[in-house]
Amino acid sequence: MAMALWLLILIPILAAPIAWMGQQWSRHAPRWIVLGALAIDFILALWLGGQHSAGQASGHGAWLAESHTSWIPRWGISLHLGLDGLSVVLILLTAFVGIVATIASWTEIQSRVGLFHCQVLLALGGVIGVFLAIDLFLFFFFWELMLIPMYLLIVIWGHAQRRHASFKFFLFTQAGSLVLLVAIVALALLHQQATGRPSFDYADLMGLTLTSEMARWLMLAFLIGFLVKLPAPPFHTWLPDTYAEAPTGATIILAGILAKTGAYGLLRFTLPLFPEALNEVAPIAMGLGVVGILYAAVLACAQTDIKRLVAYSSISHMGFILLGAFAGTELALQGVMMQMVAHGLSTAGLFLLAGALEERYQTRNMGQMGGLWSVTPRLATMTLFFACASLGLPGLANFIGEFLVLFGSYATQPVMIILASLGMVMAAIYSLGMMQRTFFGRQQDTRTASDLSNVAFGTLLFIAGLQIWLGLYPKAVLTTTKPVMEQLIQHALVSANTIHVPSESLLSSHIVTSQGSTP
């Protein structure tokens, strides 16, 4: 089992140089290597997940699979990996979205094919490492590992403004990482202060008791580090430039998976490590979430560039994740989980479609499109479907995510939830506006264009099928992640209670809701 965890990370990383070399054998060899590596990873993760739910019956024990090897004992650094429901779901999402990204680049990427797919595999290996590492030093290593290949993907294969965009992406994420690094080191040193030896280990640091002053600052640092990645305002401005300029495959990885590493960080580290400061930071974080939902939705309505529109809608959807993560109820956390998966699927679909449009018409400006329904009916139908997913149509997965967050958070912050609900109206405005400007109306560009290829169409249909399946049967995700979320809430409550006198109304509402929700 322990070996399998390392395999999850090593398969993509070891396949990366092979993909690079594969270019010599045939044009498509690198693509097939990526697909093969990710498929194996997917099946492996699925198998581990199956073990997971079987082992869940035994109850306690945080990790189902765990691998622990000493690395630099002097500094308390170890090669520590752990797998639970949260990571299983996200690794499955990573492998799947990676496959979609590869298919999306099938015709778009024609130069340096081997190198491109090598970078894709390295980035994905880093992401999977992020989802597995429970030693904070190791976590940070993977956190940085995924960044550099992403930077290269944008700067080498991006569109006209790629230098500006990639530089902005690098600066923002690197600045966020530095804040995170300072906080991680500070935690390790605080552990030394308390016990005499430094430690980067998750379990050790969870047991650390901090003064509320210290906890507040460290939590803010952990929050900022992850908010840049999520992203949430005011750290979001790298995203529209990056998403628009990156090649389609990279955009799909960025939006579908990399954004989720921020969300994962919030759930895995920010929330459990600093329960002392949760009550102070939670309203701020939720407020940022609501601002993100509304502000990005307004800007999405204002865009004429289709990729920037989807990019802003993506920020808006991420606001629900931030909102739910700090709501302090299990239901909202489950909503966050659902939203991560749903957004990963819907946004991958939308960017694939936007990329297909760009490839056909050499423009992202919707003012130059219009009336394309009759030219490319498959493209149009699929865009309609994903626009519906994005506007939160019930029966699709995004609806479950958003609504569980809203249902779960209403007790904590009713006013914020009412404001966030206005995002639903705006989502309708930008999603339908996008349809109107591209596929409906009079035809602007009379060039004929080929419709979606069978492979792309099939991929999109499959994602659509997943959206419907999870929209009508969200249990598939929710049962896997339920134990994790249960534990998270309990841990936060217990720690918060032992340290603070529950005086604030926010805290008391946490207790009420958790009693109501756990049988």
């Binding site: 005011p234 979001h236 401005t237 529209p240 307004v298 309505c301 204002a302 865009q303 004429t304 920037r308 109820t329 299990e330 239901l331 956390l333 489950q334 009336g371 009759s374 009916p377 139908t381 519906c388 149509l393 019930p394 029966g395 479950i400 609504f403 569980l404 809203l406 249902f407 779960g408 209403y410 007790a411 009713p414 939830i417 009412i418 609900s421 206005l422 639903m424 109206v425 309708a428 405005i429 339908l432 506006g433 109107q436 596929f439 409906f440 109306g441 009079r442 009508l472 049967y473 969200p474 249990k475 929710l478 049962t479 339920k482 979320m485 249960e486 109501g516 929700s517 756990t518 049988p519």
Partner: protein, 629 residues
């Protein structure tokens, strides 16, 4: 057979999937078979279920079925569950029955359209969503149907997507109703937070236990549900989307914007009647909203030039009657008017479609005339529809339902006299605008030459609906006339019966009915006087050019569009005109700062040794000075 309940919404859904996935490969005939067949099969299933339901009715008042657990986590349990009682069975029967007739009609009406498969796919999806809405056991599933019908309405209004105005109308419809939907969603959040369940029955029984009548929370939730209902049902103040929604093909207007979807608000309020009973002030508000809408819409209907817009305003007006009835606690009367209205309004739209079809898509009534002889089937069925809508006494269904509503308004303890007078005025106006249409379109000289009567697939639904428009009224007849109470008796198992003020006896009912009869006939007579060619004022037939300001105001639906444009649409466009991100400006400023600092500092790099030496010396002195301090 009751266990087949789940099949009713699933059949049209299957039709949709079939058409969506391989509609391109099917022949037109097969598309029509799938499209009509799936709804027809749903209607047959409904009949089978109904037979079983009635075999144990009223001993067993409802039937519940769970297909699977939709959400079951962390204290939230919501099923894909169905709930059949007298109310939902009535709705299902209307949706599948009338839905089937309209599908049949569409098979011929849309026969030459490019998007034949797309049309039937959307229509089937609509029927599936609408059935989900009315059969839902819990509010979340109801919300699924609620949003689903909204989506289909959007898709079908913008069906002819090449026209940008149609697209605008479609977006307007979706966005305006979504404002209502969002209010409804917030209502759901509150109910769930309070009661930890979304089951319609449980929520209401818990609410009745926990909230005293008139309590704040009850009022808030009722208002939120009401906003949802007025959005869908095109009532004030969210009514602006319906007239524009006529951009869709006429069968769509008949099915969605007349017979079924726009009455979803009525269904929602009736379904949640326990909740509204806890908020009497809100209920009174429903009555007033209904009255105001019915009068505004009726006056607007009087001056429209487009035949479909007349019918759109008339739909708003008739739904206003339903809201009025709900508001005064006449629950079964509202549903009875829903039943008769969906028959005669679907009939009117389909007949209007037949007119439009034969006139090469001409919709302006001032370019019509004299069609009585050319389109006899259409004329007679349209006449029956108009008569039913006006409430021609004794022989039409509209009379019985409208009379019931007016009698309830007169006799209910929840009502006021002035509301009754307003509604009576509305009844007069209904006769006036209905027969204005008849006289303009079917009498006088021929202005556009018609191509002739349409085929059997279009005529058959007209005849069946005309028959229904005449006869469904006999299900419920007042004490003074026959005293048939089949309908109210049936619905009494799902809805509370109407309360009467003391001292309301048969003689006062007869007097009240006389007033209603006179009002309807007065309206029709006035229409003949004003619009029948050859009558007193009928000669001045072409008031097309009238530009009197009051006329423009009425034609534009009392200026709500312009008001909302100023208040919301223009400011929104002003906000979204600028696509750049304010926050990004801050970072850009940072970058500019850094660059200018860099430029400034690079000036010091001169390459002259004495300059460097001097700066080192000055720097050292400054540092020393600092330490000295």
């Amino acid at each position: 057979m009751l266990s087949l309940l789940w099949l009713i919404p699933v059949l049209p859904l299957a039709g949709f999937l079939l058409l969506a996935l391989c509609g391109g490969r099917l022949s037109r005939q097969h598309i029509a078979w799938v499209g009509c067949g799936s709804v027809g099969a749903a209607a047959v299933t409904t009949a089978l279920v109904a037979i079983d339901f009635f075999s144990l009715f009223p001993a067993r008042e409802f039937y519940q079925q769970t297909s699977w657990n939709w959400i079951d986590t962390s204290g939230m349990t919501v099923g894909i569950s169905w709930y059949l009682d007298a109310l939902s069975l009535l709705m299902v029967a209307v949706i599948t029955g009338i839905g089937f007739l309209i599908h049949l009609y569409s098979a011929e009406y849309m026969a030459h359209d490019d998007g034949y498969a797309r049309f039937f796919a959307y229509m089937n999806l609509f029927v599936a969503a609408m059935l989900t809405l009315v059969l839902a056991d819990n509010l979340l599933l109801l919300y699924l149907g609620w949003e689903g019908v909204g989506l289909c309405s959007y898709l079908l209004i913008g069906f002819w997507y090449r026209e940008p105005e149609y697209g605008t109308a479609a977006q307007k419809a979706f966005i305006v109703t979504r404002i209502g939907d969002t209010a409804l969603a917030i209502g759901l959040f509150i109910l769930f937070t309070q009661f930890k369940t979304l089951s319609i029955q449980q929520v209401q029984s818990l609410a009745t236990g926990a909230w005293p009548v008139g309590s704040n929370l009850a009022m808030i939730v009722a208002v939120l549900f009401l906003i949802g209902a007025v959005g869908k049902s095109a009532q004030l103040p969210l009514q602006v989307w319906l007239p524009d929604a006529m951009a869709g093909p006429t069968p769509v207007s008949a099915l969605i914007h007349a017979a079924t979807m726009v009455t979803a608000g009525v269904y929602l309020i009736a379904r949640m009647h326990h909740l509204f009973e806890l908020a009497p002030m809100v209920q009174e508000g429903i009555a007033v909203l209904g009255l105001v809408t019915l009068l505004l819409a009726a006056t607007s209907a009087l001056v429209q030039q487009d035949i479909k817009r007349v019918l759109a305003y008339s739909t708003m007006s008739q739904i206003g009657y339903m809201f009025l009835a709900l508001g005064v606690g006449a629950w079964p009367a509202a549903l009875f008017h829903f039943l008769t209205h969906s028959c005669f309004k679907a009939l009117l739209f389909l007949a209007a479609g037949s007119v439009i079809h034969s006139l090469h898509h001409e919709q302006n009534i001032f370019k019509m005339g004299g069609l009585r002889r050319h389109l006899p089937w259409t004329f007679w069925t349209f006449l029956i529809g108009a008569a039913a809508m006006s409430g021609v006494p004794l022989i039409t269904s509209g009379f019985y339902s409208k009379d019931w509503i007016l009698w309830s308004v007169w006799s209910s303890p929840l009502s006021h006299r002035w509301i009754w007078f307003g509604a009576l005025l509305g009844a007069m106006l209904t006769g006036l605008y209905s027969f204005r249409l008849i006289f303009r379109v079917f009498f006088g000289e021929v202005r556009t030459q018609p191509t002739g009567e349409s085929g059997l697939a279009m005529r058959l639904p007209l005849v069946v609906l005309a028959f229904l428009a005449l006869t469904v009224g006999f299900l419920e007849m007042p004490h003074t006339l026959g005293n048939v109470t089949l309908f109210s008796h049936y619905l009494s198992h799902a809805l509370p019966t109407t309360a009467l003020l003391p001292g309301m006896d048969e003689s006062s009912e007869a007097r009240e009915q006389l007033a209603v009869t006179v009002a309807a006939l007065l309206g029709i007579g006035l229409a003949a006087l004003l619009f029948l060619p050859g009558s007193l004022f009928g000669a001045r037939g072409t008031d097309q050019s009238t530009t009197h300001p009051s006329m423009t105001l009425l034609q534009g639906g009392w200026g709500f569009d312009r008001l909302y444009d100023r208040l919301f649409v223009q400011p929104w466009f002003a906000i979204t005109r600028n696509s750049s991100d304010m926050v990004d400006r801050g970072y850009e400023w940072l970058a500019v700062c850094a660059e200018s600092c860099h430029g400034w500092l690079s000036h010091t790099q001169t390459g002259q040794v004495r300059w460097y030496a001097a700066s080192i010396a000055v720097g050292t002195l400054m540092l020393l000075g600092l330490f000295a301090m």
